[in-house]
């Protein structure tokens, strides 16, 4: 079983541990991960606000490369990359002219034949069905599953989970032995767009998230997006400043939590790379 | 006209074929597909079928096509304008490889089309046809040409009659008409002088099964016989016999209309169909198959001899071979001959 893989920039940089845990979990379940060769930026930064054509050309090139490489399914762990790739696929499927134009711009035929999976879809399809009996160390903690924005919105395009009150991460975590809590901030904004420019705002927005998780007794926050992770983890100082107390609930990628449950090595899962020490 | 007898080498037939095609003549000859043999326009000599006793379909389609346009019409502001078929639209046709019975049938068919009304379209077409007959060296149990005035080497109806001299031999060509001579003129070198050849010994032996008197005489008084019912019980009422018959001439007129344009077409029809004689009123004078079967036999063996002085049958046996219900005309005629009145 071979699965295409688009890491995007974050997974090669600030969230290497996400990539590490994805690969580790895949390996544990005998899935061969094949990275798209010569991949480029997905355009999640500013491209889609600046230039519509460019915002489609970038993801389309990635997908064309995957097609050329003979991949039929590609897992895209970063929620922002997932969003850009899926939106592009959706728009190009709707508009043949645009599709032809983009193929021309890229000098590369875009067919639209690749199935894009976000990390939850990948887990649901290939991992959780085989989970039974493999959970050697149940992740026996109260967890707050935090979805953020790009994983579930816009629903019209992604058609994934319930946009206002998603459940899919909770279900995976339940199978990993955790107790997902019912909380109010599953899809509230973490402030990722302002992470650099207005860090105190991030402190407030992410602070409300971490605060609610804490108030409801969460022992870990589970995420599936590098931006969510960096805001909730790396900006903990600002968060705690906003909250006026020291909150040290760790933030884990869902693949890390799952990896722990199936007994993978903490280091292999990159747990040592977090700002907030992972104590669970 | 006394026939001119020539010898044609076996290998010269193909040359003759090419010469004829070269003279802008369309050559229609037997062609086999799906195990059946019928006439069609031939482009390659090798496509001509040779291994047949009798073709499935007769050659009447050449002069009397199964579907034939008679005229085109169009509606306009002033009413209707009609355009007929010009004779020069019809090409010169060589009818290659027909059996003597079929050649004889041309005359029988023509007699119908020239009885009281002279059918111009038919005659025009026929005038363009040159008949190259081939005598029969083989026969089967369905053949009975000798009972209806024909024989395996009959020259009647052919413009040239070829008789193969032995299994793999050369051909005796009997040039019978002016049309035949014109063919010779195209390539005289292919037609060598023929010595004294006894044609009859190369012909098939077709025994005589009944005489004219035995049938014609009998039928006059046979109209109300119960025999028709017994004979026709297994007839399923299709038109196969009429459509393969070289002398059946019935047709239907259809208008093929598309708004202001249209054409009038004649199509074969058959007295075997139950709706053939159905009146608008609902009355059908031949409302049972026995009446239709009787009509077929009577027409061919009583009415035509009476009115046109020819049989409507050449003894080719096609109808029997083609019949899906195994109606065997020879058997039925024989039983009429033997039936008590």
């Amino acid at each position: 079983m071979t699965l295409g893989f688009y890491p995007g920039c974050s997974l090669k940089g600030s969230s290497r541990e996400y990539a590490e845990s994805v690969l580790a979990v895949a390996k544990a379940f005998d899935i061969t991960i094949e990275e798209i060769k010569d991949w480029n930026c997905c355009g999640a930064t500013a491209a889609h606000n600046m230039n519509r054509e460019l915002s489609f050309a970038l993801p389309a090139r990635i997908l064309s490369l995957a097609e050329k490489q003979g991949l039929t399914e590609v897992v895209v762990p970063c929620a922002a990359c997932y969003s850009r790739l899926t939106v592009t696929q959706y728009e190009l499927a709707k508009d043949k002219e645009l599709k032809d134009r983009i193929s021309e711009v890229n000098g590369m035929e875009y067919k639209g034949s690749v199935t894009i999976l976000n990390i939850i879809q990948m887990l649901d399809k290939y991992i959780t069905p085989k989970l039974e009996g493999k959970v050697v160390k149940p992740f026996d903690h109260k967890v707050a599953c935090y979805y953020g924005c790009l994983l579930v919105r816009p629903h019209e395009i992604l058609k994934f989970d319930r946009e206002e009150d998603p459940q899919s991460m909770d279900e995976v975590m339940l199978k990993a032995g955790a107790t997902p809590i019912d909380w109010a901030f599953k899809t509230e904004c973490c402030g990722a767009g302002l992470s650099i420019s207005r860090t105190p705002s991030v402190g407030k927005l992410s602070g409300m998230i971490v605060g609610d998780a804490k108030d409801r007794g969460a022992e870990a926050i589970i995420v599936a997006c590098p931006m969510c992770h960096s805001n909730l983890d790396m900006r903990r100082k600002e968060i705690n400043k906003y909250l006026g107390e020291k909150v040290d609930i760790p933030v884990l990628y869902i693949t890390q939590a799952l990896g722990l449950a199936v007994g993978l090595d903490r280091k292999e899962l990159g747990l040592n790379r977090h700002f907030v020490k992972v104590t669970v | 006209m006394k026939s001119d007898r020539r010898l044609v080498r076996k290998g010269s037939l193909e040359k003759l074929f090419e010469v004829l095609k070269g003279d802008n003549r369309q050559v229609y000859a037997p062609f086999s597909r799906n195990g059946r043999t019928s006439y069609r326009k031939i482009e390659k000599f090798s496509d001509i079928a040779t291994d047949y006793i009798q073709t499935t379909q007769s050659s009447k389609e050449v002069s009397f096509p199964r579907t034939e346009k008679i005229l085109d019409y169009s509606k306009n502001a002033d009413g209707m304008s009609v355009k007929g078929i010009e004779p020069d639209q019809i090409p010169q046709i060589m009818l290659w490889g027909i059996r003597p019975c079929d050649a004889m049938g041309i005359g029988e068919l023509s007699s119908i089309f020239n009885w009281d009304y002279k059918d111009e379209i038919y005659n025009n077409r026929l005038s363009k046809v040159t008949v190259l007959g081939f005598s029969c060296s083989k026969t089967d149990e369905y053949c009975f040409c000798t009972s209806v005035g024909g024989n395996p080497g009959n020259t009647e109806g052919s413009d040239i009659l070829f008789t193969q001299l032995g299994g793999n031999g050369d051909y005796l060509a009997e040039i019978l008409t002016e049309k035949g001579e014109k063919v010779i003129a195209l390539s005289p070198e292919l037609f060598e002088a023929a010595g004294d050849i006894e044609k009859e010994k190369f012909l098939a032996d077709v025994p005589v099964k009944f005489s004219h008197k035995e049938i014609y005489g009998k039928l006059e008084k046979f109209f109300d016989s119960e025999e028709w019912v017994g004979q026709s019980l297994r007839c399923i009422g299709c038109g196969a016999c009429a459509y393969v018959c070289p002398t059946c001439a019935c047709f239907d007129i259809q208008d093929d209309s598309h708004g202001k344009l249209g054409s009038r077409v004649r199509c074969w029809d058959s007295c075997g169909f139950s709706l053939f004689t159905l009146h608008t009123s609902g009355h059908n004078p031949r409302n049972v198959q026995s009446a239709r079967w009787r009509q077929r036999i009577m027409h061919k063996f009583s009415y035509m001899p009476e009115r046109l002085s020819v049989y409507g049958c050449t003894g080719c046996g096609r109808c029997s071979r083609a019949c899906p219900a195994d109606m065997n005309i020879l058997e039925h005629l024989t039983s009429i001959k033997e039936a008590a009145l």
Binding site: - | N34, L233, I236, C238, A240, S320, P324
Partner: protein, 266 residues
Amino acid sequence: MDELIKRAKELLEAGTVKVVIGYENGSADKTRALFAIEPKDADKLIFDSRCVMNLATYITKAEVKGKGKMAITATLPVMRAIIQLASEFQVNDSNLLVLGITPESKMIEFKDLAEVEAFVHKYTIEIEAKYSEKLEKLDKMTPSERWSFWIEELSPCFKCYACRAACPMCYCHKCTVEFNQPQWIPVPSHDLGNLEWHMMRAIHLAGRCIDCDACYNACPLGIPLNLLTKRMLIDAKEHFGGYQPSIKADHLMSTYKPDDKDNFIM
């Protein structure tokens, strides 16, 4: 087939039936239909592998039916045809007695059509391998190639309607081709007229054709027109769960299921 002859004689002698329809030797090596009316006629009855004509075509003919109660020598395809005809109210127990011949060439006399039906239902209609191959070959062609194939194959057709006459299911007194207000099917036997006639025949036989090949056997020009009906049979199996003639069940094409396929409908 002494047993058959004996039974036919008994039936005629007793007056149980007025006519026994069977096969006798015909021209050349062919067999043909025999209508035994006198007991002695039954001596001519035969049955062997050459007897392929579907005799059921005769049981709807006024001339035969008019004789009174009929008995018929019926092979499996004939029995199937009889059951389909019974479901269409064309024959019934009061006018038909079936002397069945099993695929193993054994004679069984059936008490009534219900028994015939039960016997028929022991066998499903299967497309012969040689035809499956042909159909597969056609399926593999492009639509344009199939179009050329059919235009060419149908081109010799001169509309003698032997296919219709030989088909036990074509018992209508006035066929659609004879309907002329409007003239649905062009009468001329040109390419279009032939195409429409054969399409219409195939559609009208969908869900009724019992795959006896009578039409093909009857065709004086050897046109493979039974491929059309075979295709309909395969479709009936694929889409509606298959076809089996039955006296009481609703006709395959005059009923429906709410979940019939509609993936081709926008």
